[in-house]
Symmetry: C2
Subunit: 333 residues, 2 copies
Amino acid sequence: MSARIILEHGAGGRLMHELIRKISRRLNTPSRSVDKAMFKTHAGRIAFTADSFVMKPPVVKGCDIGMLSVNGTVNDLVTMGAKPEYLSLSLIIEEGLEEDFLMRIIGSVSDAARRSGVKIATGDVKVVEKGSCDKIFINTSGVGRVYSNIRVSTLNAKPGDAVIVTGSVGDHGAAVLAARGEFQLETEVLSDCAPLTSILETLVRKKIILHTLIDPTRGGLATSLNEVAESSRVAIEVEEEKIPLKEGVSSLCEVLGIDPLYLGCEGRLIIFTPLRYAEETVKVLRRLEISRDACVIGRVSGRSKAGEVRLLTRVGGVRSLPMLHGIPLPRIC
Amino acid sequence: MSARIILEHGAGGRLMHELIRKISRRLNTPSRSVDKAMFKTHAGRIAFTADSFVMKPPVVKGCDIGMLSVNGTVNDLVTMGAKPEYLSLSLIIEEGLEEDFLMRIIGSVSDAARRSGVKIATGDVKVVEKGSCDKIFINTSGVGRVYSNIRVSTLNAKPGDAVIVTGSVGDHGAAVLAARGEFQLETEVLSDCAPLTSILETLVRKKIILHTLIDPTRGGLATSLNEVAESSRVAIEVEEEKIPLKEGVSSLCEVLGIDPLYLGCEGRLIIFTPLRYAEETVKVLRRLEISRDACVIGRVSGRSKAGEVRLLTRVGGVRSLPMLHGIPLPRIC
């Protein structure tokens, strides 16, 4: 039987220092730096973001909370036009958690960090009594360097922009739903959790003009489009039949009566680029494994009815696609 | 009756955006920046650190989890020789928490940030089901600029250094103990929770040579001294009768059979400086309200018996002061 985490692991003494050393080894990081980090920088713009992850269950098909907590923050930095560089890793662990399970999660953190080219630079460990948290919560924060020729913002979408999505939507949300014991669902849906770093690198190298980047996590594609429409004071129109959707996701959503456009992704990017760049952008994206299903799904239609998102349905109708109301799916990230 | 936080507040939709706007207003921060932050920097060294706070109870005399979560990270940056600049604020909230209580905590965050001169630059909000966390957990991460003429590290304490503490030890730990329902203790002990920024600013301005800065939080003075002794491969000697200890803390510790040298502080700094700077350092510190009880408590005695901390007791004996073993006090921060 695997050893278990006890309260003393978080008390600040000998046992905590040993646990931190063990975690550091798994991360290939000198243990000193899992407390504090210092790095040199030259002049420029630094992006800074933070997120807590409370995913339930902590392991689903294609993703676990360790992988998610790295990619989630990495992708936030990408949407700011930055190359992610350093991450912090803060763990809140429930007393009684198996150490083997913890180390498996740390292994995922380590793999995800290597894949996206970031360094886990600092962090901490807290342990709370059984019943005071749900297995493990992870917070990561990240800093990155903003590419010098990039100015993206959710304020910056403009009439005439094409709206591009880099792949199928709702996969992560569907994978979490399927993993929950409450439904007796057999499905092959894998989480799309992945770092978006290579996408941004490629678009920057190809000198594509980017207005807005957003990753549709909590609240899904529909909510992200609403955020952009409100912040940029524009109306957005998307075509239902163009939105890539996996068979497994759409059948799961039908069974449960959930709209997949509100299901979160963890490895997809929505790109707003002037129409004249749309074709090249899609071509470039399709050459990358992570975005081989990229396509234009709509456009920024104008300034009138600013803040509104409209869906052109398969049967030729038009309906409003509002921001998420209610909770289709809590704790997907 | 105050409104309560519900799961939908964390689901990513309309209600979450409204809550974030409310929090942003309380923080005097534009709500956009409570998602992501970008700042310009010139060349130099950047310090980066992160911490989760799970303090129980979340409010004690002189401190609450909001104030603590700012000062804790601010003080980590100070111990790296940095001027704290930007903080992230990530909340994990238990469903059912009163909104008034949440806003009181956010008010403390706001006050503490103003007092220490940092900007809350980014953050996020997650809500978990009742019973899945204990009221509220807060994670903050921080970045700051390292003063150009400073090179401090726990690796850097040297034989001959004076060991200075900026005030009484164990106040925060004692205040948390006293606030717990399990003991029927009436005490006037206040937490020492405060930002250490003014102390570092002053020492830098006075051109005091600093070898090591450490703030004795979890595990208290004894554990921090052991960390330095191990990292710097030196032996440290401290004199019991010189260590400032408040009457209320020492009597509480006597009743409970706890050694105050293992009780955490949240507004104290341990300073290692060459002996020739010790007198001036203490003089300068005593002029600041926060460190008016500063004093030399010991010295780095040499390289032999490296890693050991010795206490010269009041009665003239010598005993080893090891790192914390066991849990005198979980969840003080």
